[in-house]
Amino acid sequence: MLSSKVTCNSHGQDSSYFLGWEEYEKNPYDEVKNPNGIIQMGLAENQLSFDLLESWLENNPQPAAFKDHNNQSIFKELALFQDYHGLPAFKNALVKFMSEIRGNTVSFDTNNLVLTAGATSANETLMFCLANPGDAFLIPTPYYPGFDRDLKWRTGAEIVPIHCSSLNGFRITKSALEEAYKQAEKQNLKVKGVLVTNPSNPLGTSLSLHELDLLVNFISSKNIHLISDEIYSGTVFSYPCFTSIMEVLKNRNLMNTEIAKRVHIVYSLSKDLGLPGFRIGAIYSNDELVVSAATKMSSFGLISSQTQHLLSEILSDKKFTKSYLLENRRRLKERHEMLVKGLQKTGIRCLQSNAGLFCWVDMRHLLSSNTFEGEMELWKKIVYEVGLNISPGSSCHCSEPGWFRVCFANMSEETLILAMQRVQSFVDCMAKKSMQSRHQQLLQRNSRRSKSLPKWVFELSFNQREITADER
């Protein structure tokens, strides 16, 4: 009686990624009311810099009151404005902001920008434009769990993973790309493109120039699209600098070529400005056919004119955006260090990262078995016994068990410290509980080795782990 979309579960919400949230909802931590509750570390939100926005708003009350900067009421115009081309003032301000984040190395044309209700809508819309039902997009693992819903559910598109491994810090390799393409062919899936998140969720790393070049070469040779989801571009807080795919095209003199027309960017203000509630997303494409189709599709999810107006005023304040971006990055860096160091004390390593609102944490040594069952077991312990909702790597389609995404920007400093204390107790407890001296040896070995480790803050010991071929 209902459509197959209702009964299938391509919406992906039965995955552990969402189940953890449910557990959190049942027993949420509150400093005063529920100090033993579950701390939410599974939500990639940026709550660190609201005060900066709040003070801007206090000094600039007009836009929220439906007034322009001449204090004239534009309520009527805003109430009636449903043009899917978007509010020009907002688009102008947004492209400039996007440029600013990229160090003004590239500029964006408002005619190539399509506004959508969040990146969720942008990604789905691009799929509808680029893929027929049954077509596939290649995505490097681990990836954002929401892609399963956003890209596949209503579009009928498929995702084929590009397997990345901890052996090289989860970087994309040429052979992984080729292997994924072959896999798709084996499954009789027509590959329409590659989708990458840069900076990466869940890794928190920005793509290297080498990876970006590989991607451009790959899509060029296969004559397919590249979608670069750059929603975390403003969260890059340390070296190396963020390089957008657009910059690569520019530097390689590919800007007005057919290749450039197959490169599309997804953007949003949910992470960079911490405004997920406002549903501000965008598609940027050099292909006017894509822009045209996507613009029409944006009718299904336009941005509220009230919100477009407010943001056009905020983003037009160049002094504000400059200082916000700087201060926000500084706070993210500080918070990131807190988490990394806090975990390090307990013998837990993180993938070295320079961006994002989370760390990709290596808990392989805490697994009872080197399997995804072992990962689930550990995850449940962490949720129920330690009281932290973190995201297991399997929910991100990681091919190796034992990795977890842990968010650090969606809570107060005190809460983060408490979380670290809980982890410390847990690890201590586990160490005591463990009858196998193997675990203790491992911890000792790791801490000795750490002093000789150059860049990589994790190591892989072949003697102790059998990485299973279990792929999700």
């Binding site: 979309k5 926005l53 439906f66 809508s121 819903r149 009718s299």
Partner: protein, 501 residues
């Protein structure tokens, strides 16, 4: 070279999806000439008094001042003013697809009020959508698979072709209505449509009805609604009621919502009503005149649909800033009661002014009690009852009378000669000018008629008026529908749209 450019273009088109390159969005149809004419030469009272008056946009601009007044008096409703700023962080962060509880409660209350509190709505069944546009599409995704069909009475809102079919793959099967009975839906027409679908191997999943109707401006009577309920229950298919014009009622008969009919009929178990087949689409774009805020609502009596549609609402959530604002204003009972009453009065007055003005010139409209438009009968102005003639007349109205009205064929009307004319998207002076132009057009026609009367006999199906037109080049028009939501803001000259920096 241009050849390689074309070749590259073809290759690029091949690289896109079928959906992206199909014409199913309907926006490339020749009907957009009306919009183009307006865009190139938009009317402005002082700056361009001879421009084209936009009467093709179903907007409610009559009562925005009431809302604007409320905004000025209630700074807390905005998270960003001094009074509201304490809420900023929570609201800016709030992306829960359940939606703000206060917002859902306020919407549920508002919907109840609009139905005279004869029914109540459960806030937990309120699901958000990106405007009614997004909500309708999501509902189709929930109820139908690609290839399945939905029955829809004609004439209907042209953008249904896009909203319900484009990305969903759903097919629309018309229930033919005509003027012989004021375009009411008959049982025969219903059964006939259903049979046609079966004969074409289309699996019918439901029926969609706009009540009040766009473009007719009429409300569906209770008896017809009961007939429809019995029909869908008998066939075990869904009924989707698009009630986005519910509060634009300005005259009797009173609005009867499908929710009321459901409530009544359920009480008698012999009716065998399955409430899980009933769904409502709502929005604030027409009733409150706020299309820019993208407030689409899906209300379903089916738990699975609510659950699924809620997940889908991720693709078109309402900005939390807007949710908060609306939760505030719609919770102000005094304001809402006053607004509904005053808005209705203003619509009644405007409707009366316009229809009386038309009647003076011998032009009648379908008797209507709701909506932001009239369904104007210009059949007597056609030389022949054909759609070619309708298009010719339409081009004349755009180019000579300079009014952008919407031809009935774009609404899939089976009888040529009907036009939808919007009256609530302009001020009183503009209405005056529009009526003056119609007057002049009609006078000119009478003059021509007297001249041609000596040469030709008037045909019997034409009444007293017969206009002879200079012929225009006529494109082979498909039955594709224009996108009735204009891609262009009505305020073409507004600084909002013209911003350069």
């Amino acid at each position: 070279s241009s050849q390689t450019h074309t070749q590259a273009n073809m290759e690029r088109i091949h690289l896109l999806s079928k959906i992206a390159t199909s014409e199913q969005h309907g926006e490339n149809s020749p009907y957009f000439d009306g919009w183009k004419a307006y865009d190139q030469n938009p009317f402005h009272l002082t700056e361009n008094p001879n421009g084209v008056i936009q009467m093709g946009l179903a907007e409610n601009q009559l009562s925005l001042d009431l809302i604007e007044e409320w905004v000025a008096k209630n700074p807390k409703s905005s998270i960003c003013t001094k009074d509201g700023i304490s809420q900023f962080k929570d609201i800016a962060n709030f992306q829960d697809y359940h939606g703000l509880y206060e917002f859902r409660k306020a919407i549920a209350n508002f919907m109840g009020k609009v139905r005279g509190n004869r029914v109540t709505f459960d806030p937990d069944r309120i699901v958000m959508g990106g405007g009614a546009t997004g909500a309708s599409e999501s509902l189709m995704f929930c109820l139908a698979d690609p290839g399945d069909g939905f029955l829809v009475p004609t004439p209907y809102y042209p953008a249904f072709d896009r909203d319900l079919r484009w990305r969903t793959g759903v097919q629309l099967v018309p229930i033919i209505c005509n003027s012989s009975n004021d375009f009411k839906i008959t049982e025969e027409a219903l059964e006939s449509a259903y049979e046609n679908a079966i004969a074409s191997n289309i699996k019918v999943k439901g029926l969609i009805l706009a009540n009040p109707s766009n473009p007719l401006g009429t409300t569906t009577d209770k008896q017809t609604l009961q007939t429809l309920m019995r029909f869908i229950n008998e066939k075990n298919i869904h009924i989707v009621c698009d009630e986005i014009y519910a509060a634009t009622i300005f005259n009797t008969p009173e609005f009867v919502s499908i929710s009321e009919v459901l409530q009544e009929m359920e009480q008698d178990s012999s009716n065998k009503i399955n409430r899980e087949l009933v769904h409502i689409i709502y929005s604030l774009s027409k009733d409150m005149g706020l299309p820019g805020f993208r407030v689409g609502i899906l209300y379903s009596y089916n738990d699975h649909v609510v659950s699924c549609a809620r997940k889908m609402s991720s693709f078109g959530l309402i900005s939390s800033q807007t949710q908060l604002f609306l939760a505030s204003i719609l919770s102000d009972e005094e304001f809402v009661d006053g607004f509904l009453s005053e808005s209705s009065k203003r619509l009644a007055k405007r409707h009366q002014t316009f229809t009386q003005g038309l009647e003076k010139e011998g032009i009648t409209c379908l008797a209507s009690n709701a909506g932001l438009f009239v369904w104007m009968d210009l059949r007597m102005l056609l030389n022949k009852p054909t759609f070619d003639e309708e298009m010719e007349l339409w081009r004349l109205i755009i180019n000579d009378v300079k009014l952008n009205v919407s031809p009935g064929s774009s609404f899939h009307c089976v009888e040529p000669g009907w036009f939808r004319v919007c009256f609530a998207n302009m001020d009183d002076q503009t209405v005056d000018i529009a009526l003056k132009r119609i007057r002049a057009f009609v006078k000119k026609g009478r003059k021509n008629e007297r001249a041609t009367m000596n040469n030709k006999r008037t045909k019997s199906f034409q009444k007293n008026l017969r206009l002879s037109f200079s012929s225009r080049l006529y494109d082979e028009a498909t039955m594709m529908s224009p996108r009735m939501m204009s891609p262009h803001s009505p305020f073409a000259r507004s600084p909002l749209v013209q911003a350069r920096t």
